[in-house]
Each structure stands twice: as C-alpha cells, then as structure tokens.
Symmetry: D2
C-alpha cells in the first residue's frame, strides 16, 4: 500500500482526490492538512465522504509528511515551492496540483503569479506530468508538476497536429469553456450562484495564467515557438471543460488522414478517446471520469481544422490526472482506481 499525504485538502481538488482514492486498492491516506480547518473531520466538511474516511484535517507536520510515500499538493500557488525542497530531501515523492512547478521559465512564472520563485532548482528537475507526452520521465520522477485543467484539454487536442507539423503554429486559437468548480471554493462574490447561474461570459480574455503553460507545451510539441490565442469562458455548470480549437493547415489535407492520425496517436492511451469524425463530445460524457474525449470537424471549403476536446476539470484536469501520475510513478496499472464510467446523466 502507498502511504499518501495531501497538503491543502479543503478545496475541490482535495475532496476530489479523496473521492478517487477512497476506492483505490493500493492507497491509504495517512494525513490531509489544512491550517484553517485543522481538527475538522473531512466527512463533516464533505458529507459525501461519510463512511469512507475516518480522517480529520491536521496542521501540516513535516515529520508526518516525510513518512509518506507520496504527497499531493492541492494548494494555492506559492505553497508547494516552499515545502517541496525539504520533502525532496527526505526522499518523498510529490505530485503538485498547483502551478508552482509547471513553467520552466522563472521570469514568466513570476510575472503571472506575482512572486519570485523560491525553489528554482526543483523547477528544473520537475517533470510536467502529461502522461500522454512524457510517461517514462514521470515513472522516474520524484517531483511531478500536474498540468492545469485548460492546458490539459488544449494540449491533448492540438498535439497530433503540431507533432506532425501540419498546421501553422503561429496562429492557433483555443476558445475554452469551464464549469464553476474551476474557480475553486473561496467566498468570492463573482462565483456566487446568483452571479453565475443562467449566464455566460468570457473572462481573462486579455490574458490568463494558463496561456504561458499552454504555449510552453505546444511549443515543445511543435519544436518551434507557437502563437496561441486563448480565451476562457465561464459556463453555468459545476464540472467540465470544453475547448474548441482552431488551426490552419499548411497545405490542404485529406481530413480522413487527419482522423487516422489522431486515432493512431492515441490508440494506446487509456484516458484519451478520439470519437468518430464529426462527433460532438459533451462534457457530461466525462463527468467524474479521468478522460479526455475529442472529435475533429471541418467546414466546407475550409482548411481550418476544428477540434472539440472535453475533460472533467477536477479529474483529468486535476485529481484524476494526479492519481494517473501516481500510478505511473509507482509502477501500478495506470488505470487503477480510475476505471469507473462517467456519471451520465
């Protein structure tokens, strides 16, 4: 059994980790920390966990965390970078669900997250945990930076095209839409049901923290600097991200070949599902499941490739992908604890 610790488990990614780990046959959760909720039972905070965990939030205790095989960070940015070096020293492995170790360029990181980085050496050593790209590195990594939700949906959708150099990398467009759980669980007026319900809007259209992460990943895949326009939107629902991606073919292409390319690229991926050409993936078809489902489209007389890519932002976009990474790191079956179908309807 893998002894797991969770740092910062009061938010939606924290409870989602617990929901998934509750049925994982190879994991025991030995501690979950929260400064604000220390002493509170997780089941009192999240009644869906009643009967599943006899566990209370505790103050973060370095010695307790050091005794874990793996520690998940489900914290706001700025926390993991301070605690990780000590954990690394004690040989603990870490999957950080926050943004602290995602960006290799420290200046870019500081600019978007508004603070200097306190653990530059580990930024270098951290593996960006998108299994569909760097599975082997993840298996050997001591520190995995779990990708952001939007970047997961956007990168998986663009990857096959960029890896093959089929589209103009300088004018990619990603129009993404997310449910409200992506905004976290703080008492912000802008996230009230009364503000979000029955309404739709773009946000961060002039620049969002996930933009540099997306650019970094796409540029690596393309082998050249990419130019991507990314606009996130808020959907009046709780879970789910849909990203509609637009790319221009360098040379007119046979779309059947493109479909084949996508199916080939992801044939052996347990958590990426390429639907038949012209399908319309629904976010509900991945609700609660660790899956990225996508489909290609073309409009008449057009050389624009359209990809619709959906994930559950809390699962393949956060906690599920973190558990997938854990499975890889510990040599377990990659799908262990992640087999259940999505909740539909």
């Amino acid at each position: 059994m893998i002894k797991v610790g969770i740092v910062g488990g009061t938010g939606y990614t924290g409870v989602e980790l617990l929901r998934i780990l509750a049925v994982h046959p190879q994991v025991t959760v030995s501690c979950i920390t929260s400064r604000s909720e220390a002493g509170t039972s997780v089941a009192d905070m999240y009644p869906n966990l009643r009967g599943h965990f006899d566990l209370a939030y505790s103050e973060p205790d370095p010695s307790v965390l050091a005794a874990c095989d793996l520690v998940f960070f489900a914290t706001p940015h700025g926390v993991a970078m301070r605690m990780v070096p000590e954990l690394m020293a004690s040989g603990v492995r870490v999957v950080d669900l926050s943004a602290d170790f995602r960006l290799k360029d420290l200046q870019v990181w500081s600019k978007w997250y508004g603070m200097p980085h306190e653990s530059p050496e580990w930024v270098e050593k951290a593996v960006y945990g998108l299994p569909e790209v760097v599975r082997d590195e993840i298996s050997k990594a001591q520190l995995v930076a779990n990708p952001g939700c939007y970047p997961t949906a956007v990168q998986l959708g663009f990857l096959p095209l960029l890896e093959q150099g089929l589209v103009d990398p300088s004018r990619l467009i990603a129009d993404a839409k997310s449910g409200a759980s992506g905004g976290g669980r703080q008492g912000k007026i802008g996230m009230l049901h009364g503000e979000i319900g029955e309404s739709f809007k773009a946000y961060g259209a002039s620049g969002h923290r996930h933009l540099p992460e997306i650019r970094q990943g796409l540029s690596a895949a393309a082998g050249v600097e990419t130019g991507v326009t990314f606009v996130p939107h808020l959907v009046p629902m709780i879970r789910g991200i849909e990203a509609t991606l637009y790319a221009e073919l360098k040379t007119p292409a046979d779309f059947e070949r493109l479909q084949g390319l996508f199916e080939e690229r992801y044939r052996d991926e347990p958590f990426v599902d390429v639907m038949p050409f012209g399908s319309h993936p629904e976010t509900r078809s991945v609700r609660g499941a660790n899956l990225c489902r996508m489909a290609l489209h073309r409009q008449e007389q057009s050389d624009v490739v359209i990809i619709s890519s959906v994930i559950d932002n809390l699962v393949k976009g956060a906690a599920g992908q973190a558990v997938q990474n854990m499975n890889i790191m510990f040599g377990l079956k990659e799908t262990l604890g992640l087999e259940a179908p999505a909740l539909l309807p």
Copy 2:
C-alpha cells in the same frame, strides 16, 4: 459470474444500470434489449459507456433472456407483467424496476396505471424490494418489485416512527422534490430545459402514482391504515430527491430519544445514513451513490417531527437499489459494486 439481461435499456434507469454494472466484479451483461434502438451500440447512445461495453441493443429474445441468471426490467409499466410469467417458468430471477409488481391491491394498481393487470398471481408472489425492511424475503425471492424513487425516500424516513407507533399515522405529510431525470427520457415538451430550467413547481399535487405505493408501505410498517398527503415537486436539476416529512407525535417526546431510535434502526444498514440531529442533507451528497441520507429536526414548542431524507433517484431510487437487491438475491456482499462515494461537487 452472474449472467444479467436488461429489458428496455435506453432510458435513464437503463444507462444507470450499465454504469453501475460496468464496475461490478461479479456480473456480465449478456444482453440489453430495445425495440426502438435494436442494432444501436449502447456506447453510441451513451458516450460515457464508450470503452466499457461492446454491446448493442437487441430485440427482446425470450430464449436469450431465459439463459440469463437475472433479468432487470427498466421498462415503462405494462411490459414486465406480460413477460415475467414466462421468465419465472424458465427459472430466471427478475428485478423489475417498473411499477408492475409493487402494489398488492390490483384494483388500486389498475386505477392508477390505467390497465388491467395481466399477471395477478405474480403480484402476490413478488417481494417488494426494500432491503431495509424485508432483506430475508428478497434473498429468497424469484421476483423482486424494485421500489419507486419517491417511495424509497419517504418510507425510509417515516419507518422508525411508524414501527414504534410514536406518531399519528392518520396525518402524515410528505413534501417531496425531484430532479428532472425522474421524468424519464422521452421527448416531452414539459421536460425541455427551456421549460424546466430556472423554475420550480409542484406537480401531481392532486394525486400521484407513488401515493398508493407509499401508503401501502407505511401502513405495513404502522400496522394500521395510514393517511398520508404526498406532493411531488420538480427541481431544476438532473438527479436527486429530497423529501421533507412531517409527523405529529402522539405524546410529547424527547427528541434525543428519537435521534437514538433512528440511529439504532439503521445502525447496520450500509445504505442508510442518519446524520446528527439538526443536519441538512444535500442531494449532491448522494449523487451517483446508493444511499439514503437523513436528518431529524424540531421547531420550538412543537411536537411535529421533521425529517429530511435524500437519495439519488436513479441509484437508491432505482438502479442502485436494484443491484443491491441482486446482491442480496445471489448471496453476494450487499455493497458489491456500490462502494464509490457520491460525486461532490
């Protein structure tokens, strides 16, 4: 492995059965029937099942069904009563999720369902499958009538009071609220998002088919005829039922004793959770889970016992309870395949 057949699997209870059985270690689904969708793959109809089932809907074939160990009926009323006798003769066991075998009084059944009953002898033999009341009979039953969604939430909430004779059985009130999935998956204008979204209303307030089923169950528990007023409401959400129950104590009682009574009554029940006195169960705390969660309340200077009881109408109110009954019928661990926590948020 139990060979399972599903008759009428295109609706929400059908897909929910598949979602649950997909991870049940002791079941193989050998056939799923639908006249309208014969030939369609279940994964094409319900994309959340892509990769989980390589199964297509087929015309109902008596010989195929006769070869199953258990057949679930997820059909509109009137279908099971016609097919059950032949299946019984061939020794197959059946869990009927429809209303055909729930009411013992055939006149009442005919009045509410608008047709004569065609299998009276099996109405008599059928066991009303509320495990918390008749677990042993279920274990031996060949035909189990799976309870309705509202009746499950209402009966479990009132039971402890009626069994002990603590409240006036002649003036029970059940004000129940359900998500839209309870209305099924037919193209009814009244169930469009444009009609249901952002609105709330009572329906069937002058009489609903679940009223006689509730009365039958409560009367059996009380040992006398009960008088219950039942008003269902439609909530702009997909899953979940909350029933607020009102009963008058015959003699002023100590509410701490009542709380103890409920906890005692359900102490060994894996799928009933009595929360601390004064709690407010949320339907999301049981979303996707086979669970009835309840709490008691009292208002100052009042002898009205208030119980709030929640279930997922598609799980403990339908498919989950059906699988729970199957587990009991086949001597499996009652919780097998039903262990996952609810999906929250």
Copy 3:
C-alpha cells in the same frame, strides 16, 4: 415626480429596485448609498443598468436623504432602526425592506435578530406593508415595514382560509422553496455556484427568522394564536419562491366553495392571481413580475387543503412590493411601473 432615495443599494434588492424604478414614470432616484461602494457607478456594478442611470453610490448623507420624498432601506437588519427616527422627524416617508420593523414583539425580534431594538416607538407606529391586508393603513403610513419574501408567499396563501376560520390554526404546515438570490450577495462559500448548483436541501429547518413573522401575520388573520411549522429549502435557481401549504379543514368542505372563496378574496387584487383548481403555478410564471400566483389542490378522501403559492422573491417578495407600497402611499395607480409580464421562458 417623487424624489426617491435608496439606502444600501449594492445588494440584489437594491439593484431590483433600480430595475423597476428605471421605468416608473413618477419617480426620480436622487441618491443611492453604500459605504463600501461609495463612488462606484451603479452601471459599473450592475451592467444591466448601463444607459438607464447616471448615478453613483454615495456615503449616506442625512441631509440628502431628508430632502427625499421617500427613502427605501435595502439594508441588512439593524441599519434602518438606527436611521429611521431622524428621517421620521424630518417628515420623510420610508419603506424598509429589511426586518427591522416587521415584528411587533420586541423580545421576539431581539431573540431572532440577536440585538436589542433601538427604535421601539417606531416599531409600534410602523405599518406591516402587505397591501392585500392593510391597504388603507399603508396609504396613510409614514413608515412601512415591507414583508419578507417567504412571509408574503405563505400569508397570501393561507389568508382566505384563516380569515374564514375554516381550518385548524394549530397545525399549519408551510414547506417553502427559494432560489439563491434570497441569500443575498455576500461572498459566502455556502452560496457558491459550486455548492448550490445541481443540488437541493432544506435549511433552517429547526427555526428560521421568517417563522415569527409568518406566525404574527397568520395569527392576526385567524384572530387566534396559530401553530405553524415552516421549513425553507434552497433551489438551484436564482429567482423564485414556491410555498406548498397544508391545512386541515375543521369540517369536511366542498372544495368548489373553497376555490370560490379564494377567487372572491382576491378578485380585486391586481397582484394576486388565483389559478383554476388543480393548477400548478411555476415560479417562472412570475419571474420579474410583482405577482403572487396560487392554486388549490385536494387529494382523494382527504380533508387537507393544499395550496401552492409562487412569487419572485426579489419582486413581490421585496422590491416590487416596496414599489407597490410606494404607489399606495403616494396615491398613485397601484400598478404604476409594475405592469410588465413575467419573463418566460
């Protein structure tokens, strides 16, 4: 033109007042106050008001308020009671949308609102502004206590029965459901979309501040102390309240007569609509409109009268009723500025 001031206009009742007054032909809004948002334009805070008001929030200024003909208080409880005496002295008329002047019994008020009352003399003089009950007093009042949202829906539904003494006043039950806007516009975690969406629950089941207000109104109508059980619920929608009311007839009654009684009672009321017997009012049918719509139901062999009553909590339950009271106080046509149909769908 009536010079109107609004104290505390940043919440949902404040913006709703502005939305209604924007098209009221006899009103000019001369000031709207907010300590937290002083200086902010109302159109920046509420973009639906862009182009309708060239008005910014200001610090409350007694002299400016004293120059108004009418001041609306859309503040949390405890504010109006401190400012009202001075305004009364300067001859300004006030409609208080908060709870400060609703309860005549100061001990009860202090118990539920957790502070001593600082303006007892005005509690005595204040008129409880339910026009369908005390229209004349309102027309002469200097201070009107605008009813709460739940109390409006519940009282209007029970009134005809209690005024005629037809039902047992000691065992009334009001099961009420409200959209999230009733919870106001503060950054409370419990009101996040992620917490409320796709879920339903009871709250305040052991006691809610609107209970004494309901009891006071119903007792006045019945002429005796009433015993009412009131349980509010939270619906995953923004606007709307539905209250399902249960009362026991003292003597078996002809329900056609009851229907006639309700129609007669409200025949001349512009803002109460009694639907045909057995109808199911939808909250969306009053969305944005100053209307209470209700219908009666009976279940076979039962002497329980069931009434379903719906309002928009922000309109007939708050701002709309406040404007209706203003129209009455200033001798205007009662429906002025309140004629538009509800927004459906």
Copy 4:
C-alpha cells in the same frame, strides 16, 4: 394603434413577441395563429400572460391577416414564403422572424433548408432587417427578413472592423454559445433538461444554417467575399448568446484607436452598447432586453482582435429586433416598448 397579427405564436419567439407587445403603447394584437393550438387561450399556454391578453390561438385566416397593419411570422422555415405573396398583394407589411427571406442566394438557401424556395421574387425585394446597417431601407420596406440570433451577435461584433477593412476577411473565426431556448419548443430528446443540464458541447461544428447568413452579411460589410469559421455551442441556460470573435489585423494597430472606432460606429445606436476596453459582457446583462453588448480584447504581442458580443437570443436575436424593425417601419420612436433594463440577477 398598429393592428398586429402573429402567425405561429406557440413557440418561444411567439410568446416573447407577446411579452414585449403587452407593454407597447402603440400596438394591439388582433390575432395570433396556430394550427395545433387553435382554440387554446394564450394565457393557458403561457401563464405569464394571464391578465395581459384575452386572446386565443386561431386557425390562420387570410382575411383576418389581411386586415392587419403588420404581420409577424414566428414560424418554422417554409411557412412564410408560402403566405407572404398574398399578404404583400393585400398591402400588409410583414416582419418574418424565420429564415425564409434572409438569404439572397436561392441555391444556398435551398441547400441549407432542404427545399426549393417558393417566393423568389420576394426574396429579392425583402430587406434584411439589421437596423444598425440598413435602417432607411427598413423604414420603407414592406417585407423585412428579421436576422437570425447568431448572425445578429456575430455581425454586429465584426462590422466596424470589416467596414474599415482593418482585418483579414479570409480568416474570421466566430465561436458562439447559446442558451437552450434557441432550440425552440418541440419535444426533442436532445433538448430535455436531463440531456442539456450540467453539460456543455459544440454542435453543428461541421456546418450550421446560420453560417451562410453570417457570410452574406460580413461579405456585404467588407465589400469582398469573407471566409468565416463558425462553431455554435449549447450552454446549460435558457436565454443568451455570447460570441467570441477572432480577427487578424492586416497591419499592427493601436487598440485604443480600435476601441474608439467601435464607440464611434455605435455612438447613436440605442441597442448596441460598447463597453470599456477589456470588459467581459455577461449574457445576463442583456436578459430580456433588446441589446447587443460588446467589448474588445487583446493578448500581449498579438495582432488578433478579440471581440466578445452578447445578446438575448429571444430579444435582440428575434422578437425584440422584430419590434425594433416594426417601430422603424411605422415611423415610431425606435425604442418604443423596448426601454426596460435587463433582468439581473
């Protein structure tokens, strides 16, 4: 007073016309037709209209329609083109909310709407009713083709850029999202709350009927053939469209100048609101209002102009724009009956 007739008034655009006309001071609705609902009172079908109209649906009667000053068609495509010629002959003016007269190219129309056009001569004479573009022609028109919902939001957003020739007209992208009311009021399974709620998806990504309408309008504005990629999406809400538009500047431009250009272009338009640069328009800010609200955005080091444009699909996208056109046609104040602020929250 203008005598108005409505053909096909049972759908959402029909009831929305009635909601708006109910408070229009210069209109009387003399008839509303429906073959399926002939005899049904509009108030029974749409309870929000109780007390506003004493009107029942009737079989379409040419003589009655011929006696109207104006007839609105709120019908599926294919109906207006058959009835319009006779009405034109009798001198009645018509605003057609369907697609019958929007496309000038009959081949394109037939291809997308699957039938030959039966009134080619009137296609030629019809004025495409986007007041912000052809106000004068509308004022003189006998037949106005009311624009589609998506085309209204998309065209108004792109217009200033194309009219000035500032962007590459060959690679425009419009990623649009709509609430469910856009799908109409028929009993389609795909539009059930159980199918749409809590989910998001693209649809018609390979081609949608509004694409040729958008291309026609944009090409006229640009003076050259435009290449536009248009992908609609379904949002789990009832009303509202948000379109995020992407265009590439031909030459690096000063975005302040672009903002000024938009403000200048729409300065005198009562129903177009250009928000400050970098704002995020919410669909709720135009709910129920005849308004298109938009804002511009730019991402660092990018020459992609991003425009977010929102409307209420039933108002500025249908019934409201139709009434706006009527006001223009009859020389009334353009804003008459359309002054009320949006319903927020």
